[in-house]
Symmetry: C2
Subunit: 245 residues, 2 copies
Protein backbone atom coordinates (compact mmCIF):
# COMPACT_ATOMS: atom_id res chain seq x y z
CA UNK A 1 0.00 0.00 0.00
CA UNK A 2 2.73 2.44 0.90
CA UNK A 3 5.59 1.01 -1.15
CA UNK A 4 6.71 4.52 -2.13
CA UNK A 5 7.49 5.31 1.51
CA UNK A 6 10.59 4.55 3.53
CA UNK A 7 11.11 4.97 7.26
CA UNK A 8 14.38 4.49 9.11
CA UNK A 9 13.69 4.33 12.81
CA UNK A 10 14.94 3.42 16.28
CA UNK A 11 13.10 1.37 18.90
CA UNK A 12 11.75 3.45 21.79
CA UNK A 13 12.42 6.78 20.11
CA UNK A 14 9.33 8.95 20.74
CA UNK A 15 9.85 10.98 17.51
CA UNK A 16 10.00 7.77 15.43
CA UNK A 17 7.01 6.37 17.28
CA UNK A 18 4.89 9.47 16.51
CA UNK A 19 5.45 8.89 12.79
CA UNK A 20 4.66 5.18 13.05
CA UNK A 21 1.38 5.88 14.86
CA UNK A 22 0.40 8.43 12.21
CA UNK A 23 1.24 5.96 9.42
CA UNK A 24 -0.95 3.30 11.05
CA UNK A 25 -3.82 5.73 11.60
CA UNK A 26 -3.73 6.72 7.93
CA UNK A 27 -3.78 3.06 6.85
CA UNK A 28 -0.31 3.41 5.39
CA UNK A 29 0.98 -0.02 6.28
CA UNK A 30 3.49 -1.86 4.16
CA UNK A 31 6.02 0.95 3.89
CA UNK A 32 9.69 0.12 3.54
CA UNK A 33 11.29 0.28 6.92
CA UNK A 34 14.50 -0.41 8.68
CA UNK A 35 15.01 -0.61 12.42
CA UNK A 36 18.45 0.84 13.08
CA UNK A 37 20.67 -0.24 15.92
CA UNK A 38 22.14 2.61 17.91
CA UNK A 39 24.73 0.34 19.47
CA UNK A 40 26.06 -0.42 15.99
CA UNK A 41 26.01 3.31 15.13
CA UNK A 42 23.73 2.56 12.19
CA UNK A 43 22.10 5.97 12.61
CA UNK A 44 25.36 7.38 11.23
CA UNK A 45 25.26 5.18 8.15
CA UNK A 46 25.35 6.45 4.58
CA UNK A 47 21.77 5.25 4.12
CA UNK A 48 20.62 7.80 6.70
CA UNK A 49 22.95 10.56 5.58
CA UNK A 50 21.66 10.29 2.02
CA UNK A 51 18.17 11.34 3.14
CA UNK A 52 18.90 13.44 6.20
CA UNK A 53 21.59 16.16 6.20
CA UNK A 54 21.40 16.45 9.99
CA UNK A 55 23.13 13.09 10.09
CA UNK A 56 26.31 14.91 9.20
CA UNK A 57 26.11 17.46 11.97
CA UNK A 58 28.71 17.42 14.65
CA UNK A 59 26.75 17.02 17.84
CA UNK A 60 26.83 15.61 21.29
CA UNK A 61 25.78 12.32 19.70
CA UNK A 62 29.13 12.08 17.97
CA UNK A 63 31.02 12.06 21.21
CA UNK A 64 29.72 8.83 22.59
CA UNK A 65 26.93 6.38 22.05
CA UNK A 66 24.53 4.91 24.55
CA UNK A 67 21.45 2.82 24.10
CA UNK A 68 19.56 4.89 26.65
CA UNK A 69 19.78 7.83 24.31
CA UNK A 70 17.69 6.24 21.58
CA UNK A 71 15.27 9.08 21.47
CA UNK A 72 17.84 11.85 21.17
CA UNK A 73 19.30 11.01 17.81
CA UNK A 74 18.57 13.92 15.47
CA UNK A 75 19.10 11.65 12.46
CA UNK A 76 15.95 9.67 13.20
CA UNK A 77 13.23 9.39 12.09
CA UNK A 78 14.35 9.61 8.50
CA UNK A 79 11.32 9.45 6.22
CA UNK A 80 10.84 9.61 2.49
CA UNK A 81 7.70 9.59 0.35
CA UNK A 82 8.70 9.34 -3.29
CA UNK A 83 11.29 12.10 -3.64
CA UNK A 84 10.04 14.05 -0.65
CA UNK A 85 12.26 13.70 2.40
CA UNK A 86 10.77 14.76 5.72
CA UNK A 87 12.74 14.06 8.88
CA UNK A 88 11.10 16.04 11.65
CA UNK A 89 8.46 13.92 13.37
CA UNK A 90 5.86 16.71 13.63
CA UNK A 91 6.50 17.61 10.00
CA UNK A 92 5.88 14.01 8.91
CA UNK A 93 2.63 13.89 10.90
CA UNK A 94 1.33 17.08 9.28
CA UNK A 95 2.50 15.97 5.85
CA UNK A 96 0.75 12.59 6.10
CA UNK A 97 -2.51 14.08 7.34
CA UNK A 98 -2.44 16.66 4.57
CA UNK A 99 -1.55 14.24 1.76
CA UNK A 100 -3.94 11.48 2.89
CA UNK A 101 -6.84 13.50 4.28
CA UNK A 102 -9.56 11.12 3.20
CA UNK A 103 -7.67 7.92 3.99
CA UNK A 104 -7.78 6.16 7.35
CA UNK A 105 -8.65 8.20 10.41
CA UNK A 106 -9.01 11.96 10.23
CA UNK A 107 -6.38 13.31 12.61
CA UNK A 108 -7.30 17.01 12.65
CA UNK A 109 -10.80 17.74 13.97
CA UNK A 110 -13.19 20.02 12.07
CA UNK A 111 -14.65 22.18 14.81
CA UNK A 112 -12.68 25.36 15.50
CA UNK A 113 -12.71 24.72 19.27
CA UNK A 114 -11.41 21.15 18.97
CA UNK A 115 -8.85 22.28 16.41
CA UNK A 116 -7.59 25.07 18.67
CA UNK A 117 -7.23 22.60 21.54
CA UNK A 118 -5.50 20.04 19.34
CA UNK A 119 -2.87 22.45 18.03
CA UNK A 120 -2.34 23.86 21.51
CA UNK A 121 -1.76 20.45 23.16
CA UNK A 122 0.34 19.21 20.25
CA UNK A 123 2.82 22.06 20.62
CA UNK A 124 2.77 22.05 24.41
CA UNK A 125 3.73 18.41 23.86
CA UNK A 126 7.16 19.54 22.67
CA UNK A 127 7.78 21.27 26.00
CA UNK A 128 6.50 18.20 27.83
CA UNK A 129 8.94 16.01 25.88
CA UNK A 130 11.85 18.39 26.53
CA UNK A 131 11.14 18.40 30.25
CA UNK A 132 11.05 14.60 30.30
CA UNK A 133 14.37 14.35 28.46
CA UNK A 134 15.99 16.92 30.73
CA UNK A 135 15.46 14.46 33.60
CA UNK A 136 15.86 10.98 32.15
CA UNK A 137 18.76 11.89 29.84
CA UNK A 138 20.42 14.53 32.01
CA UNK A 139 23.73 12.66 32.04
CA UNK A 140 23.57 12.19 28.32
CA UNK A 141 22.96 15.87 27.62
CA UNK A 142 25.45 17.24 30.09
CA UNK A 143 29.14 16.23 30.04
CA UNK A 144 30.48 14.91 33.31
CA UNK A 145 32.40 18.01 34.42
CA UNK A 146 29.40 20.27 33.88
CA UNK A 147 26.79 18.39 35.89
CA UNK A 148 25.18 19.93 38.97
CA UNK A 149 22.79 18.35 41.46
CA UNK A 150 21.02 21.71 41.63
CA UNK A 151 20.31 21.58 37.89
CA UNK A 152 18.96 18.04 37.95
CA UNK A 153 16.82 18.91 40.96
CA UNK A 154 15.40 21.91 39.09
CA UNK A 155 14.73 19.75 36.04
CA UNK A 156 12.87 17.22 38.18
CA UNK A 157 10.77 19.97 39.74
CA UNK A 158 10.00 21.40 36.29
CA UNK A 159 8.88 17.97 35.10
CA UNK A 160 6.66 17.53 38.18
CA UNK A 161 5.04 20.91 37.51
CA UNK A 162 4.52 20.00 33.86
CA UNK A 163 2.98 16.66 34.84
CA UNK A 164 0.47 18.40 37.10
CA UNK A 165 -0.55 20.62 34.21
CA UNK A 166 -1.30 17.59 32.01
CA UNK A 167 -3.11 15.84 34.86
CA UNK A 168 -5.30 18.93 35.06
CA UNK A 169 -5.93 18.97 31.31
CA UNK A 170 -7.06 15.35 31.36
CA UNK A 171 -9.16 15.81 34.47
CA UNK A 172 -11.01 18.70 32.85
CA UNK A 173 -11.75 16.64 29.73
CA UNK A 174 -13.19 13.74 31.69
CA UNK A 175 -12.71 9.97 31.61
CA UNK A 176 -11.93 8.27 28.33
CA UNK A 177 -11.19 11.49 26.48
CA UNK A 178 -8.33 11.98 24.09
CA UNK A 179 -6.12 15.06 24.39
CA UNK A 180 -8.28 17.25 22.16
CA UNK A 181 -11.68 15.75 22.93
CA UNK A 182 -13.65 12.71 21.88
CA UNK A 183 -11.57 11.81 18.81
CA UNK A 184 -7.99 10.58 18.57
CA UNK A 185 -5.97 13.30 16.83
CA UNK A 186 -2.45 14.41 15.96
CA UNK A 187 -2.17 15.62 19.57
CA UNK A 188 -2.39 12.00 20.72
CA UNK A 189 -0.12 10.67 17.97
CA UNK A 190 2.59 13.13 19.04
CA UNK A 191 2.16 13.24 22.84
CA UNK A 192 1.31 9.61 23.64
CA UNK A 193 4.91 8.39 23.09
CA UNK A 194 6.02 10.88 25.76
CA UNK A 195 3.39 9.56 28.17
CA UNK A 196 4.37 5.96 27.48
CA UNK A 197 8.03 6.82 28.08
CA UNK A 198 7.13 8.42 31.41
CA UNK A 199 5.56 5.17 32.63
CA UNK A 200 8.38 3.10 31.10
CA UNK A 201 10.71 5.13 33.34
CA UNK A 202 8.68 4.46 36.45
CA UNK A 203 6.16 7.31 36.78
CA UNK A 204 3.70 6.59 39.58
CA UNK A 205 0.19 5.74 38.38
CA UNK A 206 -1.09 6.52 41.90
CA UNK A 207 0.32 10.02 41.85
CA UNK A 208 -0.77 10.73 38.26
CA UNK A 209 -4.05 8.82 37.89
CA UNK A 210 -5.39 10.74 34.88
CA UNK A 211 -2.19 10.26 32.89
CA UNK A 212 -2.22 6.59 33.91
CA UNK A 213 -5.81 6.22 32.71
CA UNK A 214 -5.01 7.93 29.41
CA UNK A 215 -1.98 5.66 29.02
CA UNK A 216 -4.06 2.56 29.71
CA UNK A 217 -6.69 3.51 27.13
CA UNK A 218 -4.40 4.63 24.31
CA UNK A 219 -1.92 1.77 24.62
CA UNK A 220 -4.68 -0.60 23.50
CA UNK A 221 -5.36 1.38 20.32
CA UNK A 222 -4.46 -0.71 17.25
CA UNK A 223 -2.10 1.93 15.77
CA UNK A 224 -0.24 2.13 19.07
CA UNK A 225 -0.09 -1.62 19.62
CA UNK A 226 1.19 -2.16 16.07
CA UNK A 227 4.03 0.30 16.66
CA UNK A 228 4.93 -0.54 20.28
CA UNK A 229 8.74 -0.41 20.70
CA UNK A 230 10.04 -3.94 20.05
CA UNK A 231 12.69 -3.74 22.76
CA UNK A 232 9.99 -2.85 25.29
CA UNK A 233 8.10 -5.98 24.28
CA UNK A 234 11.22 -8.10 24.59
CA UNK A 235 12.10 -6.56 27.90
CA UNK A 236 8.90 -5.40 29.63
CA UNK A 237 10.75 -4.23 32.73
CA UNK A 238 11.51 -0.52 32.47
CA UNK A 239 13.52 1.73 34.79
CA UNK A 240 12.56 3.53 37.98
CA UNK A 241 14.17 6.91 37.31
CA UNK A 242 10.87 8.74 37.73
CA UNK A 243 9.30 6.80 40.61
CA UNK A 244 9.62 9.69 43.07
CA UNK A 245 8.56 12.49 40.71
CA UNK B 1 -12.02 42.96 11.01
CA UNK B 2 -10.63 40.76 13.71
CA UNK B 3 -12.40 42.23 16.74
CA UNK B 4 -13.04 38.75 18.13
CA UNK B 5 -9.28 38.17 18.50
CA UNK B 6 -6.97 39.23 21.29
CA UNK B 7 -3.19 39.04 21.38
CA UNK B 8 -1.00 39.79 24.38
CA UNK B 9 2.59 40.11 23.23
CA UNK B 10 6.10 41.28 23.99
CA UNK B 11 8.37 43.35 21.74
CA UNK B 12 11.20 41.36 20.14
CA UNK B 13 9.82 37.99 21.20
CA UNK B 14 10.18 35.67 18.17
CA UNK B 15 7.18 33.52 19.19
CA UNK B 16 4.95 36.61 19.42
CA UNK B 17 6.34 37.92 16.16
CA UNK B 18 5.50 34.67 14.33
CA UNK B 19 1.86 35.09 15.30
CA UNK B 20 1.80 38.75 14.30
CA UNK B 21 3.24 37.97 10.85
CA UNK B 22 0.65 35.22 10.34
CA UNK B 23 -2.17 37.58 11.39
CA UNK B 24 -0.98 40.21 8.88
CA UNK B 25 -0.63 37.64 6.10
CA UNK B 26 -4.19 36.46 6.68
CA UNK B 27 -5.48 40.06 6.58
CA UNK B 28 -6.48 39.82 10.22
CA UNK B 29 -5.67 43.35 11.21
CA UNK B 30 -7.59 45.23 13.85
CA UNK B 31 -7.37 42.56 16.53
CA UNK B 32 -7.32 43.58 20.17
CA UNK B 33 -3.78 43.69 21.35
CA UNK B 34 -1.69 44.67 24.28
CA UNK B 35 2.06 45.09 24.32
CA UNK B 36 3.20 43.90 27.73
CA UNK B 37 6.21 45.26 29.51
CA UNK B 38 8.51 42.61 30.88
CA UNK B 39 10.21 45.10 33.15
CA UNK B 40 6.89 45.75 34.85
CA UNK B 41 6.25 41.97 35.08
CA UNK B 42 3.02 42.43 33.15
CA UNK B 43 3.45 38.97 31.66
CA UNK B 44 2.56 37.68 35.13
CA UNK B 45 -0.64 39.71 35.31
CA UNK B 46 -4.09 38.23 35.91
CA UNK B 47 -5.03 39.19 32.34
CA UNK B 48 -2.45 36.73 31.01
CA UNK B 49 -3.13 34.06 33.61
CA UNK B 50 -6.82 34.06 32.73
CA UNK B 51 -6.05 32.88 29.20
CA UNK B 52 -2.80 31.00 29.67
CA UNK B 53 -2.36 28.45 32.47
CA UNK B 54 1.40 28.34 31.83
CA UNK B 55 1.51 31.79 33.37
CA UNK B 56 1.12 30.11 36.73
CA UNK B 57 4.00 27.70 36.32
CA UNK B 58 6.97 28.02 38.55
CA UNK B 59 9.88 28.44 36.20
CA UNK B 60 13.24 30.04 35.79
CA UNK B 61 11.34 33.15 34.75
CA UNK B 62 9.98 33.52 38.26
CA UNK B 63 13.40 33.82 39.75
CA UNK B 64 14.44 37.04 38.12
CA UNK B 65 13.40 39.28 35.30
CA UNK B 66 15.49 40.78 32.55
CA UNK B 67 14.55 42.66 29.43
CA UNK B 68 17.00 40.62 27.37
CA UNK B 69 14.87 37.58 28.03
CA UNK B 70 11.84 38.91 26.18
CA UNK B 71 11.64 35.92 23.95
CA UNK B 72 11.81 33.31 26.69
CA UNK B 73 8.61 34.05 28.52
CA UNK B 74 6.37 30.97 28.23
CA UNK B 75 3.31 33.11 29.02
CA UNK B 76 3.54 34.94 25.68
CA UNK B 77 2.12 35.01 23.11
CA UNK B 78 -1.30 34.68 24.67
CA UNK B 79 -3.93 34.54 21.94
CA UNK B 80 -7.68 34.15 21.94
CA UNK B 81 -10.17 33.87 19.09
CA UNK B 82 -13.67 33.99 20.51
CA UNK B 83 -13.55 31.40 23.27
CA UNK B 84 -10.62 29.50 21.75
CA UNK B 85 -7.34 30.15 23.56
CA UNK B 86 -4.17 29.18 21.73
CA UNK B 87 -0.85 30.15 23.27
CA UNK B 88 1.82 28.23 21.40
CA UNK B 89 3.09 30.28 18.46
CA UNK B 90 3.20 27.37 16.00
CA UNK B 91 -0.27 26.32 17.13
CA UNK B 92 -1.63 29.81 16.46
CA UNK B 93 -0.06 29.84 12.99
CA UNK B 94 -1.63 26.51 12.06
CA UNK B 95 -4.96 27.50 13.58
CA UNK B 96 -5.13 30.78 11.66
CA UNK B 97 -4.19 29.17 8.36
CA UNK B 98 -6.78 26.46 8.88
CA UNK B 99 -9.60 28.79 9.99
CA UNK B 100 -8.93 31.46 7.33
CA UNK B 101 -7.79 29.34 4.40
CA UNK B 102 -9.31 31.49 1.71
CA UNK B 103 -8.50 34.84 3.32
CA UNK B 104 -5.27 36.76 2.71
CA UNK B 105 -2.22 34.82 1.58
CA UNK B 106 -2.25 31.06 1.42
CA UNK B 107 0.51 29.98 3.82
CA UNK B 108 0.66 26.24 3.11
CA UNK B 109 1.60 25.37 -0.48
CA UNK B 110 -0.43 22.87 -2.51
CA UNK B 111 2.23 20.77 -4.17
CA UNK B 112 3.35 17.76 -2.14
CA UNK B 113 7.03 18.59 -2.67
CA UNK B 114 6.69 22.20 -1.52
CA UNK B 115 4.52 21.09 1.37
CA UNK B 116 7.08 18.51 2.49
CA UNK B 117 9.82 21.14 2.36
CA UNK B 118 7.71 23.67 4.21
CA UNK B 119 6.85 21.35 7.09
CA UNK B 120 10.45 20.16 7.27
CA UNK B 121 11.93 23.68 7.48
CA UNK B 122 9.24 24.88 9.84
CA UNK B 123 10.08 22.20 12.40
CA UNK B 124 13.81 22.42 11.90
CA UNK B 125 13.18 26.07 12.73
CA UNK B 126 12.48 25.09 16.33
CA UNK B 127 15.95 23.57 16.62
CA UNK B 128 17.43 26.66 14.97
CA UNK B 129 15.66 28.87 17.51
CA UNK B 130 16.79 26.71 20.44
CA UNK B 131 20.41 26.86 19.29
CA UNK B 132 20.22 30.64 18.99
CA UNK B 133 18.78 30.99 22.49
CA UNK B 134 21.38 28.64 23.95
CA UNK B 135 24.00 31.22 22.95
CA UNK B 136 22.41 34.64 23.35
CA UNK B 137 20.53 33.78 26.53
CA UNK B 138 23.03 31.36 28.05
CA UNK B 139 23.33 33.40 31.24
CA UNK B 140 19.59 33.69 31.49
CA UNK B 141 19.06 29.95 31.17
CA UNK B 142 21.90 28.84 33.42
CA UNK B 143 22.20 30.07 37.03
CA UNK B 144 25.55 31.63 37.90
CA UNK B 145 27.06 28.72 39.83
CA UNK B 146 26.30 26.26 37.03
CA UNK B 147 27.87 28.08 34.10
CA UNK B 148 30.82 26.62 32.21
CA UNK B 149 32.91 28.18 29.45
CA UNK B 150 33.06 24.74 27.83
CA UNK B 151 29.27 24.62 27.60
CA UNK B 152 28.95 28.08 26.08
CA UNK B 153 31.73 27.24 23.62
CA UNK B 154 29.90 24.07 22.60
CA UNK B 155 26.65 26.02 22.21
CA UNK B 156 28.41 28.55 19.97
CA UNK B 157 29.85 25.77 17.83
CA UNK B 158 26.44 24.11 17.57
CA UNK B 159 24.92 27.41 16.43
CA UNK B 160 27.67 27.88 13.82
CA UNK B 161 27.01 24.37 12.47
CA UNK B 162 23.28 25.07 12.36
CA UNK B 163 23.87 28.35 10.53
CA UNK B 164 25.91 26.60 7.86
CA UNK B 165 23.05 24.16 7.33
CA UNK B 166 20.60 27.02 6.69
CA UNK B 167 23.12 28.82 4.45
CA UNK B 168 23.23 25.62 2.43
CA UNK B 169 19.45 25.32 2.27
CA UNK B 170 19.13 28.88 0.95
CA UNK B 171 21.99 28.46 -1.48
CA UNK B 172 20.34 25.39 -2.96
CA UNK B 173 17.03 27.22 -3.42
CA UNK B 174 18.63 30.14 -5.25
CA UNK B 175 18.40 33.92 -4.95
CA UNK B 176 15.13 35.49 -3.86
CA UNK B 177 13.59 32.22 -2.74
CA UNK B 178 11.58 31.79 0.41
CA UNK B 179 12.32 28.88 2.72
CA UNK B 180 9.99 26.45 0.96
CA UNK B 181 10.27 27.78 -2.57
CA UNK B 182 8.80 30.65 -4.54
CA UNK B 183 5.95 31.49 -2.17
CA UNK B 184 6.07 32.92 1.35
CA UNK B 185 4.75 30.22 3.72
CA UNK B 186 4.37 29.28 7.36
CA UNK B 187 8.05 28.29 7.26
CA UNK B 188 8.95 31.94 6.72
CA UNK B 189 6.43 33.26 9.24
CA UNK B 190 7.95 31.03 11.90
CA UNK B 191 11.67 31.08 11.03
CA UNK B 192 12.15 34.69 9.90
CA UNK B 193 11.96 36.09 13.48
CA UNK B 194 14.89 33.82 14.37
CA UNK B 195 16.89 35.10 11.40
CA UNK B 196 16.11 38.73 12.27
CA UNK B 197 17.18 38.10 15.87
CA UNK B 198 20.48 36.63 14.65
CA UNK B 199 21.31 39.84 12.78
CA UNK B 200 20.02 41.99 15.65
CA UNK B 201 22.62 40.21 17.80
CA UNK B 202 25.42 40.93 15.35
CA UNK B 203 25.61 37.96 12.97
CA UNK B 204 28.07 38.68 10.14
CA UNK B 205 26.40 39.26 6.77
CA UNK B 206 29.77 38.59 5.11
CA UNK B 207 30.10 35.18 6.69
CA UNK B 208 26.45 34.22 6.10
CA UNK B 209 25.57 35.92 2.80
CA UNK B 210 22.55 33.78 1.94
CA UNK B 211 20.94 34.32 5.32
CA UNK B 212 21.73 38.04 4.98
CA UNK B 213 20.08 38.14 1.56
CA UNK B 214 17.03 36.29 2.84
CA UNK B 215 16.85 38.71 5.78
CA UNK B 216 17.12 41.73 3.46
CA UNK B 217 14.29 40.50 1.22
CA UNK B 218 11.85 39.37 3.90
CA UNK B 219 12.28 42.37 6.17
CA UNK B 220 10.68 44.51 3.44
CA UNK B 221 7.60 42.34 3.26
CA UNK B 222 4.51 44.31 4.43
CA UNK B 223 3.50 41.75 7.07
CA UNK B 224 6.98 41.83 8.54
CA UNK B 225 7.34 45.61 8.44
CA UNK B 226 3.94 46.03 10.09
CA UNK B 227 5.00 43.78 12.96
CA UNK B 228 8.64 44.86 13.37
CA UNK B 229 9.52 44.98 17.10
CA UNK B 230 8.82 48.53 18.29
CA UNK B 231 11.83 48.63 20.59
CA UNK B 232 14.09 47.71 17.66
CA UNK B 233 12.67 50.68 15.75
CA UNK B 234 13.22 52.99 18.69
CA UNK B 235 16.71 51.68 19.23
CA UNK B 236 18.10 50.42 15.88
CA UNK B 237 21.48 49.53 17.39
CA UNK B 238 21.53 45.86 18.38
CA UNK B 239 24.19 43.85 20.20
CA UNK B 240 27.35 42.17 18.96
CA UNK B 241 27.09 38.86 20.83
CA UNK B 242 27.21 36.86 17.59
CA UNK B 243 29.76 38.82 15.57
CA UNK B 244 32.42 36.10 15.74
CA UNK B 245 30.10 33.13 15.12
Amino acid sequence: MAEDMTLLWGSGSPPCWRVMIALEEKNLQGYNQKLLSFEKMEHKSQEVLDINPRGQLASRQNLSCSSVADCLIPQLPTFKHGDNAVNESYAVCFYLESQFQSQGNKLIPDSPAAQALMYQRMFEGLTFYDKLNAVIYYEWFVPEGERHDSALKRNREALATELKLWEGYLEKLGAGSYLAGTAFSLADATVFPTVATLFRFGLSAERYPKLAEYHAVVKERPSVKASWPPHWLENPQGQDTLKDI
